[in-house]
Symmetry: C2
Subunit: 699 residues, 2 copies
């Protein structure tokens, strides 16, 4: 029974990829606009590709090195021989989805601007389709990778010896679990590198262009303007995609592994994959609901986007019931409530994020009001709002944890409860195909605005792209909340899977907080997100400094830039930002990878459990705070720009610009990178568990 249904996984994967291809082709058929528009889009595309090329080159060195390390570990029997290869495919598939998503996004910006010449709705449709390509590629490739490995391992262990101490299904899930490390590593580089690139370009462009030279944002005379546009794509499309790709596959493999421990057998292992496949189909259906009349207002468009997401969620909610009922059996029907808890929690966290970061509500308004007493009160207000905004998402996740643990029968069977927590993450992420679409649509709209501005399109077009962009900010906030919430649940599932894997290796993890090594792990783990944020924020500062120097140099040395008679050297800014991002992402990335191994070797496997938990708790809260402070500052600035408190150019506006600049690395670099930090550390711990157990100083 479970097995027949599992066919849905490759089928869903192929459907997603096929539909993504169909959408991509229909985008490519659309009108590209004027020559000027094409030229600008081309420049962004070339920049983005140059970034990705260099990024993937750097990352491939890392992957080759780690591949051989893992291979050596496999040779010494620390790992199953498939792990190094699974590591590679995880990384390659994640990288591929980033590549596809970014390519289509850079193809869509001028087409969106052109379509917006007709109507708001036409513009939305192009941008949303581009987002849907990204969303469906991520889930499609994720499911494909999972399916290939599952079927392969299932076949392999049917005709070869199963590793000592496990049965077939445990052998399969143990191996697949490790494959998440490839996706995690890729995501880290994409998020950290992309985050540094995008904010270095953004801050650098603003500091010289807007502040010093007094030219508008997205002005073609600014040498860093293309880099800024490239940054939107590498950060918010490729980075976000890789982040959620990782959560997606991570939560599924962790749930599968916990399914074995819970004694749910093959069905327990396959249900998460099947549910993901159901989510893919629901997402595709959902995209058809994102439509409205040609002359729709922004509000109607937002409602249209929401309708798509809610429809998909509803479909998953209904089908999951039957899936759980007939796959796991009526005695495990409680698992359904776990799925539902995750699904609902994801939606609620998104709404909560919107409340705290939208200028339609009190928190962001209070920051705008604080601008009347200067930048210091704007900063204090923004940090206070961000800190305040952590309460509800944490409570939502806590309620989801309790419901999913106990509904899945955790009181009687502890491992069933953990399975419930893990599958709630799968439930939350099941509709990723469409939620990511509404999110990845944002940067396309942003770039379309830049394109329209630089190509001097008529004001009403620019107004429409502004409306699309603003809508994108709302969905981006929702998406960010969703990404953080799902990362937290996935990380918890991975921690449970870590304990489980150590037990398979014949050791037990003492997870009591009173155990001094766990306690020390908790403290170190609680500190790591702060250290990590500090490193990424400084990295942005240094990289932005390089852009500032370059933009100043071009303004000075290239005669005629300001008059529009000479063209700035856009490519150089892209190159500089790329090189800086490459260099700066090394240290924080190493921290994430080395910390759990070092703690394990020095203070033992219990301390690692503490480390992971401490990092997850603090990382989750800090990520919410940073994302929401940043979002609220951004929208407070926009609110003032709309004419409140003196409008553009007033002292209040200048104060909010300070807030926005501080918020940039908060919300687009450091905050989102924390999602990866907490997941990757768990992944590393799982993969290196056997190595640590045998070599730790602290037995």
């Amino acid at each position: 029974m479970g097995f027949d249904l599992l066919l849905l996984a490759p089928v869903g994967s192929i459907l997603a990829l096929g539909f993504a291809l169909y959408l991509a082709l229909s985008i490519l058929k659309m009108d590209e606009g004027t020559d000027k528009m094409k030229e600008i889009a081309q420049a962004v595309r070339v920049g983005a590709q140059a970034y990705l090329k260099r990024q993937y080159l750097g990352i491939s060195i890392f992957f080759v090195v780690v591949f051989f390390i893992l291979l050596a570990m496999a040779m010494k029997n620390y790992l199953v021989i498939f792990v190094p290869f699974a590591f590679l495919t995880g990384g390659i598939f994640s990288g591929l989805s980033g590549f596809i998503g970014m390519n289509i996004a850079t193809q869509s910006s001028n087409r969106t601007a052109q379509a917006a010449s007709k109507s708001l709705n036409s513009g939305l449709r192009v941008a949303f389709s581009s987002g849907a390509v990204m969303g469906l590629t991520v889930v499609g490739l994720g499911l494909l990778d999972l399916s290939i490995w599952y079927y392969f391992l299932n076949w392999y262990y049917s005709c070869h010896a199963i590793p000592l101490g496990t049965d077939k299904i445990a052998a399969i899930t143990s191996t697949m679990l490790c494959f998440g490390m490839g996706a995690s590593s890729m995501a880290l580089f994409a998020r950290v590198g992309g985050g540094i690139f995008t904010k270095a370009a953004d801050v650098g462009a603003d500091l010289v262009g807007k502040v010093e030279a007094g030219i508008p944002e997205d002005d073609a005379r600014n040498p860093a303007v293309i880099a800024d546009n490239v940054g939107d794509n590498v950060g918010d499309v490729a980075g976000m995609g890789a982040d959620l790709y990782e959560s997606y596959v991570g939560s599924i493999v962790a749930t599968s592994a916990l399914g074995v421990a819970a004694g749910l057998g093959v069905a327990g292992v396959t249900v998460p994959m099947v549910m993901a496949a159901v989510g893919v189909i629901a997402s595709i259906i959902g995209t058809f609901f994102v439509k409205s009349g040609e002359q729709a207002s922004q509000k109607v468009l937002l409602a249209a986007l929401r309708k798509g997401v809610f429809t998909s969620s509803l479909i998953v909610a209904v089908i999951s019931y039957f899936l759980v009922r007939y796959s796991l059996g009526v005695e495990h029907l409680g698992v359904y409530w776990s799925v539902l808890a995750g699904l609902v929690a994801g939606v609620l966290i998104g709404l909560c994020t919107e409340y705290y970061t939208s200028s339609g509500f009190k928190p962001t308004r209070s920051i705008a009001d604080a601008s009347l007493t200067g930048p210091a009160t704007v900063i204090i207000g923004g940090i206070a709002v961000g800190m305040m905004s952590t309460a509800i998402p944490v409570i939502i996740v806590c309620v989801a944890i309790l419901i999913s643990f106990f509904a899945s029968g955790g009181a009687a069977n502890f491992n069933s409860g953990l399975y419930g927590i893990a599958i709630s993450a799968v439930g939350m992420l099941s509709t990723l195909g469409i939620t990511l679409a509404t999110d990845a649509y944002g940067p396309v709209a942003d770039n379309a605005g830049g394109n329209a501005q630089m190509a001097n399109l008529p004001p009403e077009v620019r107004k429409r792209t502004d409306a699309l962009d603003s809508l994108g900010n709302t969905t981006a906030a929702t998406g960010k909340g969703f990404a953080i919430g799902s990362a937290a649940l996935t990380a918890l599932a991975l921690i449970a899977a870590y304990k489980d894997q150590v037990m398979i290796l014949g050791k037990d993890v003492n997870t009591s907080m009173m155990n001094p090594t766990v306690l020390v792990g908790l403290l170190l783990g609680g500190m790591l997100p702060f250290l990590f944020c500090s490193m990424t924020m400084r990295a942005v500062g240094r990289a932005a400094g390089k852009i500032v120097v370059e933009v100043r140099r071009q303004f000075k040395e290239i005669i005629g830039i300001m008059e529009g008679t000479a063209k700035p050297d856009y490519a150089r800014c892209v190159t500089i930002a790329t090189a800086a991002a490459q260099k700066e992402m090394i240290a924080p990335s190493l921290l994430a990878i080395v910390a759990p191994i070092a703690v394990g070797l020095l203070i033992g496997i219990d301390a690692v459990a503490g480390l992971l938990m401490g990092a997850t708790v603090t990382g989750f809260v800090l990520a919410v705070m940073m994302a929401n402070s940043g979002g609220a500052w951004d929208n407070a600035k926009k609110f003032v720009e709309e004419g409140h408190h003196g409008g553009k150019g007033s002292p209040a506006h200048k104060a909010t610009v300070v807030g926005d600049t501080v918020g940039d690395p908060f919300k687009d670099t450091s905050g989102p990178s924390l999602n990866i930090l907490i997941k990757l550390m768990s992944m590393v711990s799982i993969v290196f568990a056997s190595f640590i157990i045998k070599n730790t100083l602290f037995k």
Copy 2:
């Protein structure tokens, strides 16, 4: 053997109080300076007393209410009958030490200014003596309270029935443990209320005086200037004193309680008290080392202060060896290393704090450099420095935990290890008499500067008081690091004591992090410090807003203020700040008290353990970050004011002023209040443990 030594506790207490009285009397004999100086000091004194009067009135309502709640609980046998009374004495003694410390501090400011007319060293001696009065009063009253209760309970349980399930010594320590809640509650109000008062007055005075009216800091024409000076006393003297009073008695009673569980008998219970008494005597001896030649430089003075602290530490380190050796016996000699680990960790954390916040080192310099690109980069830089600065203190505490656990034999006897961790906190705090003196000296120097400025003393005097103030900033940074580190260790000891108390009540706490209720507790606990900081920061903002309005009103309505012909209404600003602080401290205080009870009733005793641990981990890291960001911003501003990057009035200076203003609530309100939050929540959990166990929904 242990018992004879215990006499040292009351003896040490009386010595401390006697020496404090001697110092106080010698201060009062000193020259008060000119009439103008007396008048200003009088205004500050009156303001401070008005604040304390109102504050203590408000708090006494709280204490009466809680007293009757505890009494009712005692009637229902949830608590021993002595707890409500112990709660009262804990609060009264803490309040008394705040009262004495603040009174002598406000008597010393003009005398310090007058003495500084002679030489830097004379000024230092007055200010330091004032600090020593505070330090010795805190430890003296703390030890007195402990001694009285110990001797009383020891006598009582010798001739009355011992509560069921415990022996005499356990009955004594259980009751004494609860007495910490009184000290904790008092500390919370002192820190939060004092923190809000001081920063509301400071920010309010600066925003109108410095920024709008363009008059210097501490200018007598500013109506909020007296409130600002009062604030230094209520925040940094009374608040800091209550904070450390709580850590002091909290760590001692927690260690005693854990001594019973560790099976160390009466000696295990009394050793922490005796060690504290040794520390008192060492502190008194240490004060005699704080002296230098009359024409000493600032550097020499700092060395003199350090010499005092190091001498005291050395004395404690030596005598503790013999104390442990002969009191606990040679088989428990390992406990000595625990004490030493705490003592050394305290010193190291202080030095680390200095590195990150002093303009003599790279981190603060980097913030000053960032001022060249405006306020946004100053903010990002300061937050990055604060986040970075969390790493080393956390690692120091972790090393101290591991050493003290294993040195005390935790590997063989788990409870001995916990006793080791707890006694390391006692070791760290043993020299509190003198470390608090170097810290409480700061606000006196600050006020002396204000007095000199307002009384128009010659520039060389003002220069000397500035030097004293700057020295005070260094010692304040060290003191803050010390307060946070000791709070973290104390909180951990209290969490262990909580688990222990629940076991005495016949239940077991499941502290496994994989337990979903513990996990939920951890997440909620990890979030609470953020919520708490958000509340206190907003409170400062609102209170400062009221001061701003009032100062503006006086400038407008009182004709002749600016010309110096009319006197501003200082008292009104004090009244407003007092009322605002009173009102604003209620919500965050309730959060700290209600959270553990609510979590316990809703999700059970295991969740409370998670809550306490989560709050301690995040609270510790966040407190370090906020204190150090704030300190670094402050000193970056001072560094620019010394003439770097354009000096006073330059755009760089304005950018650092923004940083300093943001840092004010960070370092003086929200950050330090976290120390109390984590300790008080543990205290509340211990006192209400029995109530929660019987009434929780989640059994």
